[in-house]
Amino acid sequence: MKRYIAKRIVYLVLTLFIITTATFFLMKNLPGTPFDEEKLALLTQDQRDQIYASYGLDKPVIVQYVNYIGNIVQGDLGTSIYYTGQDVKDIIVDRIYPSALVGLQAILLGTVIGLILGVLAAYRHNSGWDYAAMIVSVLGVSIPNFVLAALLQYYIGLKWGILPVAFWESYDSSVLPSVALSFGVIAIIARFVRTEMLEVLQQDYIVTAKAKGLGQMAILSRHAVRNSLIPVITILGPIVVNLLTGSLVIENIFGIPGIGSLFVDSIKTNDYATIMGVTIFYSAFYVVVMLLVDILYSLVDPRIRLGSGRE
């Protein structure tokens, strides 16, 4: 296992390097400049060139790339052009907390409710519970979360005044966005747990456990749920990454100063350093989570072995 993890970490660095390189060169082909082109059009070519030069954008792309890699090796993610002069590292650090808090709450809430709904649905297969769980799931994925967010904001925030309508002022501000985001998680977890549980409940070892006279709760918690976890872990991996790194729409609706909109804005405004910074941050998070997911597989189900390839 140790050897496997060590090997994976080498690959992890390599993967990140390829992502960084690919993103850098693709990004340089984006149309436009990081500046306000309509204003720049009113300047002379010389003036424009000098502005580019002051950000090092006059050099060949390959030179810019080498410089950039040199800087990130030293831990310098560069400065933003769109948010003139702001250190990209500072921007990310400032904005990750609200996104991560909201995302984490959504995941915890969604996973717990999703697990309960899924187990209930499987245990009472084809009953009212089953259909109710399914309809909740279907609503959770076919109604976009921004609609739900707007409804929560209007009723709970404005009409009933239970929680703040928007802004990031106290812990209360994080509740509605977390709930809005959790519905998608509930939907996915509930459906997968149900499906997997249905299969697990047919397995011989469950029959054996029943035969042994194990109580229903014991069967569920010791055998069934645990053996249904593989798809849940697989699905949760990317969800964790995506939710903790923020949701553009939900952050905009609740006025949360998170990282979700930063990414989209940086790409739309050619803010090169910010694009790279967020990409590296996101990818690093993603590949680490993928590694953890693979490790979790073999912890949950020791029969799964990833290291050996001989079959």
């Binding site: 984006l30 609503l139 707007a150 790409i267 990818s283 390839g309």
Partner: protein
Amino acid sequence: MANPTDSLDPLFVPVRRENGEQERISRPALSAFQDSWRRLRQNKAAVISLILLGIMIVLAIVGPWLTKYSYAQTNYSAVYQSPSADHWFGTDKFGRDQWARIWQGTRISLLIAVLAAALDLVVGVAYGAISALKGGKVDNVMQRIIEILIGVPSLIIIILLMMIMKANIFTIMVAMSITGWVGMARLVRAQILKLKQQEFVLAARTLGTSNTQIIFKHLIPNTIGMIVINTMFTIPSAIFTEAFLSFIGLGLQSPQASLGVLIHDGFQTLSSHFYLLLFPALVIVVIMVAFNILGDGLRDALDPRMRK
């Protein structure tokens, strides 16, 4: 963690294969399809869903022609009309008939759904299955490729695509095919990683069953539940991805509409004209509920272990 097959191999000598022995029929001779169909028909909810889906598809085809208004026809003296005998689902801010637009949009969204599902089922399932079965180096490389595809921001690729391709359904498909299948691939891989060490697969292997047969006879059927469920999640997300792509300019252009675009537009007027969001959302929900019940039914019908 010794490999159990290593220790088993010397102990077990493969039995000489008799033709048909390993798949001996122990039930009335029904083809897999007949059998599944028989069991699906017994599932009332699934049958109702099938009928409901049929109605939706028929409406998507003929719906726009049932009203005298075309989906693109604007009428600036009849904007934001509530649903009425004239405009069954009301009109939007351009005075266009929502009924015609919704069914026109359903047509496009169903097409997107089918394409996305096909992509998932073909590329996603195959990629995941190969990655898990081959294991080791192959798995490692294939999974790292997925990480790279996810890591490079897709919006950059979408904008670059937008610069070189015309906006249409084909371009949407190209954009979706970059990462659209990744979730399915990872899920199938995880399931197969789990299954391939289980007793029945080991048994099949011991009996000398070929890899292809193991995939199609044992692994895929045992993963079908996951595959069906995941497809159910792919479809709505594809429908909304299309709306996003259309908004930034990669997909459909006005006056075309899709359910995703209609929901997006309806959301803008949520507080003042709720029906503009309600109807397209209802259509999507009905389609998805029907799909899901049918999917569950299909899974039960197809899954060999659910036979009772």
